[in-house]
Point group: C2
Chain length 324, copies 2
């Protein structure tokens, strides 16, 4: 069986990076596998925008890349995603404060250390905003994080990515989630994906328009609009350098990531493009750039396309073979 234990870790009132307080904060997570006696076999998998812990199920289980026969794997939920404390679930946090990715990983750190008593973390890996959290983990807790594998995400949200998000946020506010889905359709997947009609591999649609309806229609941004907004704010503010002692020095913050890292952008990702990763890896002392040779755009890291999955899984297995 591969059913996780989904549970909630109560953090109490949490003072955020901004100084604001997140009241009665709760971190929802899914744990699988068993912590070993030395408490050194933990892995953390943070969630992506609009997703949940369940989106990493493809990676986690007996014999999978995150092999629960050997590893204790904790998949966490981003604040604002509707499971961990979110605008839609928490009337006491209204207006909902900006929760940064440092705030998110600080909560995850408490879960892992105070909650589970882990001594070290073999790996933090995640997709998109999950990848961003992996960078934040390694920068905030260099002594505990052995390795990170960020997939299709950056250590900070780039200026272009912010401009992209501002368009998305404006669309959400003025037109609503259905139009946002339409706009997102051309961002999430690549020009080559659409030219080669690769959507036929994941859809019974017979036209590209029908595929877009299916994937980016009413269900794509079906979450509570307040939650969507809160997660956009978190994404937009993502920046490993936005804390002491870096104070905006991006290169210094990257240099502080001593963990082994395999940084895995998708070749055709348009909002987390490989060139951001190239800049990042150049500053990181123990990092390798390994571009996913994919036509699937950002979605390459989402666990949808078997070839991309195999490429990511191989990197994770490689890192874990010498970790823990």
């Amino acid at each position: 069986m591969n059913e996780p234990t989904v549970a909630e870790y109560a953090l109490g009132d949490v003072t955020l990076s901004s100084g604001a307080v997140l009241h009665d904060a709760r971190l929802v997570y899914a744990a699988r596998g068993t912590l070993n006696a030395a408490r050194t076999n933990a892995i953390v998998v943070p969630s992506a925008y609009g997703g949940t812990h369940a989106d990493s199920d493809w990676l986690i289980g007996p014999g999978k890349a995150l092999d629960t026969d050997r590893w204790f794997v904790v998949a966490t939920n981003l604040f604002g995603n509707g499971l961990s404390t979110s605008p839609s679930t928490s009337a006491t946090n209204d207006p909902f404060p900006l929760v940064t990715l440092y705030d998110n990983v600080a909560a995850q750190y408490r879960l892992m250390t105070d909650g589970f008593g882990v001594a070290s973390i073999a790996l933090v890996t995640g997709f998109s905003m999950g990848a961003q959290q992996a960078f934040h983990w390694a920068c905030a807790y260099p002594d505990i994080v052995e390795a990170i594998v960020p997939v299709c995400g950056s250590a900070r949200t780039s200026p272009h990515n912010r401009v992209f998000l501002d368009g998305a946020i404006a669309t959400l506010e003025t037109a609503g989630p259905a139009t946002l889905g339409r706009v997102w359709a051309a961002w999430g997947l690549s020009a080559t994906f659409y030219r080669r009609e690769l959507w036929r591999a994941i859809s019974d649609a017979t036209t590209v328009e029908a595929f877009v309806d299916e994937w980016y229609g009413a269900t794509a941004f079906a979450a509570d609009a307040r939650d969507l907004r809160a997660m956009f704010a978190t994404w937009r503010a993502a920046d490993i350098a936005a804390r002491s002692p870096f104070d905006g020095d991006y290169a210094a913050a990257l240099a502080a990531i001593r963990s082994r890292a395999i940084v895995m952008p998708s070749r055709t990702d348009t909002y987390f493009p490989p060139e951001d990763s190239i800049v990042e890896v150049a500053h990181m002392p123990n990092a390798e750039l390994r571009v996913i040779p994919s036509d699937w755009g950002h979605v390459a890291g989402a666990g949808v396309n078997p070839d991309d999955n195999a490429f990511v899984e191989a990197a994770i297995r490689e890192v874990l073979a010498s970790a823990g």
Copy 2:
């Protein structure tokens, strides 16, 4: 002086590719230079989405790449752009029919042949939808078009570009032009452009947000919404293969372009990416791919950045040195 003669060519009722009729069609153009006795020194410069003939002023004039001391240069206006027959100017065309790029170049052909009596056209060059028109010219009139230099545009609107446009159209319809500008900001210019803050070269803004306000704010899509819609419909339908004898055979339509061609995508263009051009050039018998080595995204071809301008101008001068 470099002031053009702006005039209107009356086409009468025009039967369009669809079979619908565009009533009392008028093509507005700007002519500069003098037609030679043999009528062989004509150049056509079609306009881009949301633009006018005036947007190519940077290329046209005495001593410029399109040197009006030698060439007779006609810059045309796309139907729907508010100058040539458009929803906003033509109550007799309501609802406004789909006007394809073949319909556009057919009107331009009548202007050039019946109107000016030209025997051949040395060059058709244009940016974005203007580039698309250059492809259509060469495919429709292979015996008259000596050369084309399409800049940041494709011979057909790719599936990804259509998905992108559907997002833009949905945004225009449900949120309006201000939000459309916000969405466009991340498409028009590249990730590298924003990372390197290249906007400082063309703006006094001190933040990226202020730059986006200035360039993609209320003025970016200030045209009549009906005109914006009509031009989007034209763009979306662009396809050189969408006529007899090609009937959808894209490779055959490209192979029919015998004109010399220098196809010039921008390295960082996200909606007319170089890989579309690579596919196209591979099928064209007399074409060269020359990628603009630019960080300016789609805007590389818009005449805004001096380095990109020089790169495009050099190609045009090269083609014209052996033409006419």
